[in-house]
Amino acid sequence: MNTYYDPNDLAKFGKIGEEVPELSRKFFEYYEAVFKEGELTEREKALIALAVAHAVQCPYCIDAYTHACLEKGSNKAEMTEAVHVACAIRGGASLVHGVQMRNICEKISM
């Protein structure tokens, strides 16, 4: 193995059920249900998944949901905006912790 991440491994995801099939079945049923059209469209859900994939930095998910977004009718500008949403939340999450830093500073400083 030359790298921990191999694009071909994405197709092997289903094999994760070989050891503990019941949990795997429940997970994939749930997963499939989550992405079906509900109050949100399949296109909107794929865009959310793409943004989350970037936030959790999962290359498999980025690959899968880039394809899914295009095939559900999102364009590159919309997908790029979704990635910016992930970026803003990740960046904002770091920055907002600056409040903790400031609180501690205030507490221990004269």
Partner: protein, 311 residues
């Protein structure tokens, strides 16, 4: 002989692909085009010399007269660039209930094309125009730099002439092929989004939208090979085989004629050089298209049966 994996897939679902009653005549007038789109399955472009001549046009008109086609669909290349296109349209119009012309939109901006547009309005010719995306970079990426801007401009002009407007009888359809090696969006979803985007941002209206998968032939196949996408794209088409699409495939009701007058089951067999019945038949010699005739197939047929299919 190599296995025809498409026939194997049909057999695996207990299906056969044979002709129904043929209602549509598709005329591919040639490979000359002002654009060189990356997804083009006939490899059309500015340098191509293959264009339908007068003699073949006469033979095609005779064939249309001998048969009864409810729809005649003119494609290319860019049909607008064929010498004699106006008289061809005038003579075909009385022979069918519905005459359609495929357009890349951009070619209609060229000088001298206003007369053709006026004729299309007068004959109530439906315009079927390519627009892969409402996103500029994706549209230009597929069709060439600046094409998106010009396409929007021509769509506005067509709306001004009444095309795509309710109550005018002038139909304007859009065709959205994916701008890459991925499957098309579900047609209803895509139509909703295009209508919302085009009306909201540019005030453009249209009659309806078709989404078609890109077929791995011609320039698109070359692009797939060069970009390292051919195997994955082919696998995706094969894996997405949907037996439910077979009964409604357009090749069951359509016969295609090439610029030099030979018959094919569809424009993709035409691009692949696989003639109707397997033996070249010239339109001048062709009789009726017989229901039940087996349709020729190749691995590229999976593009028409993927997902919701090409019907």
């Amino acid at each position: 002989m190599a296995e025809n994996v498409f026939q194997t897939a049909l057999a695996g679902s207990n299906l056969q692909l044979n002709r129904d009653h043929t209602t549509t005549l598709q005329i591919n007038v040639g490979r000359l085009c002002n654009l060189s789109c990356k997804h083009c399955h006939v490899d059309a472009g500015p340098g191509r010399q293959e264009v339908m001549g007068r003699e073949t046009m006469e033979a095609v008109i005779g064939f249309a007269r001998r048969n009864s086609f409810t729809t005649i669909d003119i494609t290319g290349g860019a049909p607008e660039m064929m010498p004699g296109i106006t008289s061809f349209l005038e003579r075909l119009a009385p022979l069918t209930q519905r005459l359609m012309i495929r357009s890349n939109l951009v070619v209609l901006l060229e000088r001298g094309k206003d007369d053709l547009l006026e004729l299309c309005c007068r004959l109530r010719v439906a315009i079927v125009a390519s627009l892969p995306s409402t996103n500029r970079s994706q549209a230009d990426g597929q069709r060439g730099q600046g094409v998106w801007e010009q396409s929007i401009s021509m769509l506005k002009k067509l709306n001004g002439l009444g095309y795509g407007q309710k109550g005018t009888g002038l139909e304007l359809y859009l065709v959205a092929n994916p701008a890459g090696a991925f499957l098309p969006v579900d047609q209803c979803t895509a139509e909703r989004k295009f209508k919302s985007d085009l009306a909201g941002k540019w005030g453009i209206e249209f009659t309806g939208l078709f989404t078609f998968a890109n077929v791995p032939l011609g320039r698109f196949r070359t692009w797939l090979e060069r970009s390292g996408n051919l195997d994955a794209y082919t696998d995706k088409l094969v894996d997405s085989f949907n037996p439910a699409t077979v009964a409604g495939l357009m090749c069951k009701k359509l016969i295609s004629v090439s610029w030099d007058g030979f018959l094919y089951d569809c424009d993709f067999n035409l691009a692949a050089g696989v003639p109707y019945t397997g033996t070249p038949i010239h339109v001048a010699d062709a009789g009726a298209i017989v229901p039940g005739t087996p349709i020729m197939t190749g691995v590229y047929c999976f593009a028409c049966t993927a997902g919701s299919g090409f019907t």
